[in-house]
Symmetry: C2
């Protein structure tokens, strides 16, 4: 017998019929003797319905009241799930975040969990009840309802798993795990049975939508084993089979994982590149360029500065494509003239391709292998950025799929490793 | 400057546009220097939407979880109203019942308020904020969300007015006050400017839908002046005019009120009459008849027993028409044979007409005047029931409207008394 936290997304909770499916799945774990805490999202569409009413009132709703409003979505879905379990004869009780309580800071609409009291929940679990707890929300020190922001239910689930000392946190979603890369681009993409926490963190920050990045950080901080698995299977799938499905995010670096130099390939077209040519190379020029960008709340991703012999430098950086127009305007009207740039070049037709692997730490030459594979396909690398377990390149976006397939093959990600 | 509690029903909160109207009305009172506590119902249709999901899961949803679910309706509408006030520049904050807290017993779906803490709300009011508090709900001693049952927002508003020492509790609704009788039956029906608490209590228990009966009881217990008035007027109606509109339910019996022997006429077709003929008149026969009825959770309204010389009695009673079939079955299959009734007669074509007036206490012969007026129109009275300030009769339902019009004229209710 063990304590398991299960999180179900909005699609899994999207109708009474689907809630029944969730209840059947939960009942299966409960009947097998496990203590189960369930963290449901709001029914799909509900959070949007609520927030669109707020937007109809005012473009900038008061954030405290917006939290008060949005929190009702999870409260309703949690009550419906508990009700369904009870109607099936499974002892169950639902709690809103404030009833546990899940304590957070007071940053409405993007609060951070500060502590979770396990007294009340543990008493219910020990009495044999399934405990359903609203995801996405908590209560601050002043007794106000707070929400964690979009996707916050993942974070709620992982934080609860940590607080209750759960054996595993199961994130049920509409994909069946984490893949070596997107199967829509590379049909040979393989589901990973295991991925390290650090790799998952890199994948999440590179734009993988599978898990909210803060939930991965939480899992890392509290060493919570997290499993991503499908909620679309038949709920009566044997428990042992379900326990081993999906992808486990783990903290134990075993031999198998060491063997894999590169675990996955991430990619994104959400990039725009800007280059300032022939900038007089004076101290502080990087700050003079990027300061106003940061001041405009635009996140800069990669940065590249080429020194030249003539006392000038070429300075390039990338931003999210959504911010491209604002960035270009800032460069042309303000930054370019201020730093005396010779020319400003913008390029929105770029893509970022990244290899991620914990094995890169102990294996030299992985980046070189990446560059070689791309060069053999005639793909020019425009910018490079590396971290301990990741190498990203910026390339012409028309080569993106080719690059991903090439790297997937080059690092033998289609070979079964488990 | 005074403290005013304002309650708005579901229709008044039925859309963003209507919530804006409510906010304008509230802002007017706030701007005039009043401290305002607003108690909104859920947006019209929302409670039904939530409960029908619950019914889709199971015909008998767990009552704790049903409260958890239903309470989200008022939380959402309260947040939307506070948001609207804030967007208009009016300082405002919304609280769910548990945040005040509004404490109740643990009778889920029909809880009773036990106490209301005024600390937090008073601090907000003193800081110049409008305080919006969810109607219909509270929290029990175990920290569970409870609801007061349908129409409970009236009770919430009156209870809050009592707890906060409000000068008046304004119940904004879709009628403009309490009438001498239903204007759809008697076009000459007149809105009462003032009605006594006891009369309102009789009217509410006789089926007037204007105020939930428990809210009237609360008003009586705590001597809270309650005003029923229209939410359909232009929200910018001058405050002084609004203050004197509608109907005030008062505790001060002034001369004007004494002058009115009968204040209003209530009527209902929700009646069914049963008669057991020639029942052997043994001790305990009433209990033998009515015990099984009560055990089946059927409320008996009027009871009539005619003693006869032959050692038998005729026993009649009325129930709500919805319970007529079950009652008839009980009588025929169980009670009739048990008490040895000669015959069982059921009649669903009856109506109840009642005159209500605090003046009946000090004026003899009011009931006689009622019987005389009905007799002059050839209306036969089948049953009579009286209380200190009310006389009800059961008549053939085809005469109901005639009886109401006759009595309205006989007691000169169309004459302006104020």
């Amino acid at each position: 017998m063990s304590l398991i936290v299960q999180k179900y997304g909005g699609t899994s909770m999207g109708s009474i019929e689907r809630i029944r499916n969730v209840a059947q799945r939960v009942a299966k774990w409960h009947d097998a003797g496990h203590q189960v805490v369930v963290v449901p999202s709001a029914m799909s569409g509900e959070t949007n319905r609520l927030l669109s009413m707020a937007k109809e009132i005012t473009p900038k709703p008061n954030s405290r009241e917006q939290d008060m409003l949005a929190a009702t979505g999870e409260q309703a879905s949690s009550a419906l799930l508990a009700m369904t379990l009870l109607s099936m004869g499974v002892p169950a009780v639902s709690y809103a975040g404030w009833q546990v309580p899940v304590r957070t800071d007071s940053s409405h609409t993007k609060a951070r969990i500060t502590s979770i009291d396990d007294t009340r929940v543990r008493a219910d679990l020990d009495a044999g009840r399934v405990v359903v707890i609203t995801g996405f929300q908590g209560i601050d020190d002043l007794g106000n309802i707070t929400t964690l922001g979009r996707g916050g239910s993942d974070t709620s689930a992982v934080a609860m798993a940590a607080a209750f000392g759960a054996e595993e946190c199961l994130i049920f979603t509409d994909v069946d795990g984490v893949y070596t890369t997107d199967p829509r681009v590379v049909p040979e993409a393989r589901r990973m049975k295991v991925i390290s926490f650090e790799e998952m963190l890199e994948l999440a920050s590179l734009g993988s939508k599978i898990l909210q990045i803060r939930s991965v950080e939480f899992a890392g901080k509290y060493q919570v084993p997290v499993r991503v698995l499908s909620s679309l299977t038949d709920p009566s799938i044997p428990l042992d089979e379900e326990r081993n499905s999906g992808t486990l995010i783990t903290f134990e670096e075993d031999q198998n994982m060491e063997a894999a130099v590169v675990s996955g390939i991430a990619f994104s077209r959400d990039e725009a590149k800007f280059t300032l040519r022939a900038v007089p190379d004076t101290p502080g020029v990087a700050y003079a360029i990027l300061g106003p960008i940061a001041a405009a709340n635009i996140d800069v991703d990669m940065i590249l500065q080429n020194l030249s012999a003539q006392g000038t430098t070429d300075f390039s950086f990338t931003v999210n494509r959504n911010d491209a127009d604002r960035t270009e305007q800032l460069l042309k009207e303000q930054i370019g003239p201020a730093v005396g740039a010779g020319e400003i070049i913008s390029d929105s037709k770029v893509a970022k391709v990244s290899i991620v692997g914990i094995g890169m730490r102990s294996h030299a030459g992985v980046a070189s292998s990446m560059f070689q594979a791309l060069s053999e396909e005639g793909i020019n690398i425009q910018m490079i950025s590396t971290s301990e377990i990741k190498t990203s390149v910026i390339i012409d976006d028309k080569y993106m799929e080719l690059a991903v397939r090439t790297l997937h093959r080059a690092f033998e990600l289609d070979q079964d490793r488990d």
